[in-house]
Symmetry: C2
Subunit: 286 residues, 2 copies
């Protein structure tokens, strides 16, 4: 068994999340050399000291102990297909990912990797609206939560190894079923992003440039997020997101009716409910 | 004429905004003693050193040079009605407000004050989701913008005096027509608040407590805002807010259709448009 600090890592996708992860793992002495794969950003990641080597494609990563997938989620199938030959003869490699959806990613892994039982899905609940290796930071993850989504067929030793890996990067880890993950995250993350995009566009058509305050800036901060990443998340988690959007539509309809009818009591109730809901979501235990 | 630093001020509504304003004006030496009127919060504001005296009602403010209305906007008519006797024999008093809507406030002032030509509407684009005098801060307003909404009948000397007052508190001032103000702010401020309330409630029903990240926290920060203040704003600016809500509904509908039909190109276009819109609203000149 390779010692933790000597484990060779392949990072596929060297953007803000993947870059921050290997920086944190290196700082913790949890990994050794990192080979980066990313047609757009791997050379920049090497120049920034995030990866040590660059491979031209997933098939060229060489002998590694850990593979971290940190591409937009819909690239998972093609990346795994390209990785398969390189992993075939390495029965102990741990594969994990950092994607914001888990069911479709797991399906892609199961279809394309020779040993899907070595794959442990992960979703670091962290990040910013910035993107690219330039936005990577070794301290982005300190104290944040990482959701791990192993399934019945996942090798228990790989689950333990994967949890220890993410913990080395500063995360608290929590296990969750992939479908439950996608359903819950549709509400707590994908819906706020969808809303921020729609809100920014709506306000942009309001001829109010330069008149905004902190409210607009905060509610739309995540509208600056990476378009490819979010296109992929929305498409990969279509069903749960559509159900969350329907819930929002119903809430907005209620508010709209209260405003239209001048119903102050209904508005008060609605605002008080929103305050309580926010507190519950932020402070609720898992 | 009373010297700036000796002007006696009546502050009606001693919450976060009114409290911050008089703290900033005092720090700048722009005003003298402040008498506070607020059945809920005036005593707390006095204990905090924000106001120097407490009057039991608007009619009991005594001889003042400036009146600042900083109550929820729908209280303006009754406050002005109660103020009228105290202002009748003081033809030089400047009256300003700090409300987030301007048309209905102006209508209330015109109906209830003996000298509406001395009233200059103002909207400080600043604040936090906190409320009450405990949330007041002398530095909340530094470098922020205050929109002034004088009309054709407003006395020019009072407009100048009012602009100088808000500038003393740290604001850059901009003049805007009241109706144009309400239309623009419906988009850039009232809509984000409405959305934050609806979003917080929708996510609260998603059984995802404890799984949120920075996106949810930021998009819903303003859902923690004061319920009475926001009920009043929504009701006072009903027409423009309903039009802004319709624009948002149309944006959400477009996003929903793109997700449902799996149209990645449409999603990319929508996200890119949102990013550009956000930048334009934040950086657009006035």
């Amino acid at each position: 068994v390779t010692k933790a600090g000597e484990r060779r890592v392949a990072l596929v996708g060297t953007g803000m999340i993947g870059g921050s992860l290997v920086l944190a793992l290196k700082a913790a002495g949890a990994i050794g050399k990192v080979v980066g794969v990313d047609p757009q950003a791997a050379e920049r990641a090497r120049a920034l000291g995030i990866v040590d080597e660059v491979a031209a494609s997933p098939s060229a990563i060489g002998a590694v102990d850990v593979v971290i997938l940190a591409t937009p989620v819909r690239a998972t199938a093609s990346v795994c297909e390209a990785l398969a030959p390189a992993l075939k003869d390495r029965p102990d490699v741990l594969v994990t990912d950092a994607g914001s959806t888990k069911v479709e990613v797991l399906r892609a892994v199961q279809a394309m990797l020779p040993f899907p039982e070595r794959f442990v899905g992960a979703h670091p609940i962290a990040g910013t609206e910035r993107s690219g290796p330039e936005a990577a930071s070794a301290t982005l993850f300190a104290g944040k939560r990482c959701l791990l989504t192993p399934v019945a067929t996942t090798r228990p030793d790989k689950v333990a190894e994967c949890a220890a890996l993410w913990q080395s990067a500063g995360f608290r880890t929590t296990h969750l079923d992939p479908a439950e993950h996608d359903r819950a995250l549709a509400y707590v993350s994908h819906l706020p992003h969808a809303v921020a995009f729609a809100l920014a566009s709506a306000v942009g058509s309001g001829h109010a440039d330069g008149l905004s305050g902190g409210g607009f800036a905060d509610t739309t901060r995540i509208a600056g997020s990476d378009p490819i990443m979010w296109r992929d998340i929305f498409l990969a988690n279509r069903g749960p997101l559509l159900r969350a959007l329907a819930t929002l539509e119903s809430e907005l309809g209620e508010l709209q009716r209260a405003v239209a009818s001048g119903d102050g009591a209904a508005l008060m109730a609605l605002i008080e409910r929103a305050r309580a809901a926010r507190k519950q979501v932020l402070e609720g235990g898992r």
